[in-house]
């Protein structure tokens, strides 16, 4: 019973939490720039004031990419709320990205 409750809490639809993202990019390369813009736009539209984006440029900080097991850029990791989610690519497919980040239906 307790385990189920814990599980429910862990996967419950997030409410009013602050979203913490880590976006791995390669300088100003085309897909990286698109990913940066797309993420900022999505956050502004769906979770305005409740997000934090930490951009890591792998050209300057390769160790961090390696530590986070990032294989390609752009890679977006949703750190909080749990569970962690990894999204690859330029984030152009808004619907898919929102679904992956569990942001669909969270337009408040």
């Amino acid at each position: 019973m307790k385990a189920r409750k814990r599980e429910r809490r862990r996967y419950a639809k997030p409410r009013r939490e602050t979203y913490v993202f880590r976006l791995f990019v390669a300088g100003n390369e085309s897909n990286s720039s698109q990913a940066r813009e797309n993420l900022a736009r999505l956050c502004e539209k769906h979770i305005k004031g409740r997000y934090k984006i930490d951009v890591v440029d792998v050209l300057k900080d390769a160790a961090s990419a390696h530590k986070n097991k990032v294989l390609v850029t752009p890679t977006l990791i949703l750190i909080k709320p749990l569970p962690k989610v990894t999204v690859l690519g330029n984030l152009n497919d808004t619907r898919q990205v929102l679904a992956a980040l569990r942001l669909n239906g969270d337009e408040r």
Binding site: V58, L59, V72, L82, V85, L88
Partner: protein, 278 residues
């Protein structure tokens, strides 16, 4: 996109990650590959965009050059017709006048005048032919369909290759640039038939269809190899292709020993006919 905890098992998660990695690579959404020691930049997309942009620039330049060449040809044809034509006519009339003034005793002179007169007539014919080759006056006067009909007739006369022309656009009014391009494509195609095809029959068809104007030139000759179709030194074929593409159309050329050669050009109706919306 993957959760690092249940509901996925570790293997399922790995598989999903791999699939997403492949998708990202395939759709060219990757800028860099992060290795243990190196970061490799992948600039495929940018390279592809640069290539596309250069190709478009080259196409625009070709289109401009083709139109500049047509204008130049028109000027040269007019100059030839007006200047040379007039001068040669005067010369011819002058020679006739001198011939009439000669007495029967001046026979060698008369023969010389006759020979010069014949040369002048030949020159006049040549100038007329060159001018009409440079700028087919009949295209302006009679329109594309009649010009193509006459081209087919002339081709048959010169080469002995049986040539037929078929169309369902007899009453249509063509855009000037499209008419010139189609005429030049037919000219080049027929030249190839005469030079390379070893054909006994050729057919030109200009048909209006729902999806565009279809021009086809076919023959019953030995066909054409892929290498020739796409070769850089096949200037005639390159010219035809560029003319078709400049009108927003498509160009295909192929064939074999059993089928002969089939050239097909498809051009959007809006670029061909006067009065169709763009």
């Amino acid at each position: 996109m993957s959760d690092q905890k249940p509901p996925y098992s570790e293997l399922e998660t790995k598989m999903k990650e791999a699939e997403e990695l492949i998708h990202a690579l395939r759709t060219q959404q990757v800028d860099a590959i992060v290795g243990e020691r190196h970061i490799m930049l992948v600039r495929l997309k940018q390279a592809e965009e640069n290539l596309k942009s250069s190709r478009n620039q080259l196409r625009a330049l070709t289109s401009y050059l083709l139109s500049a060449r047509e204008n130049e040809r028109a000027v040269i044809a007019r100059e030839l017709h007006d200047e040379f034509g007039q001068a040669l006519t005067s010369l011819h009339l002058g020679l006739s006048w001198i011939s009439r003034k000669l007495t029967p005793g001046q026979r060698p002179l008369q023969e010389k005048i006759r020979s010069l007169s014949a040369t002048t007539t030949n020159l006049m014919r040549s100038v007329k032919n060159i001018a009409s080759e440079l700028r087919p006056g009949v295209l302006d006067e009679l329109g594309l369909v009649k010009t193509l009909k006459s081209e087919a007739r002339e081709f048959e006369g010169h080469t002995g290759i049986h040539c037929r022309f078929k169309t369902n656009t007899a009453k249509a009014k063509f855009e000037r640039s499209a008419a010139v391009a189609i005429f030049r494509i037919v000219q080049a195609a027929l030249t190839n038939v005469a030079r390379h095809a070893h054909a006994s029959r050729a057919r030109i068809a200009l048909m209006k269809r729902k999806n565009g104007l279809i021009l086809s030139v076919t023959d019953n000759g030995k066909g054409i190899s892929r290498k020739l179709v796409y070769g850089h030194d096949s200037l005639g074929i390159t010219g035809m292709r560029e003319r078709a593409l400049a009108l927003g159309g498509t160009f295909t050329l192929g064939g074999s020993g059993s089928k002969g050669t089939i050239l097909t050009v498809q051009i959007p109706l809006s670029r061909v006919f006067i009065g169709t919306s763009r």
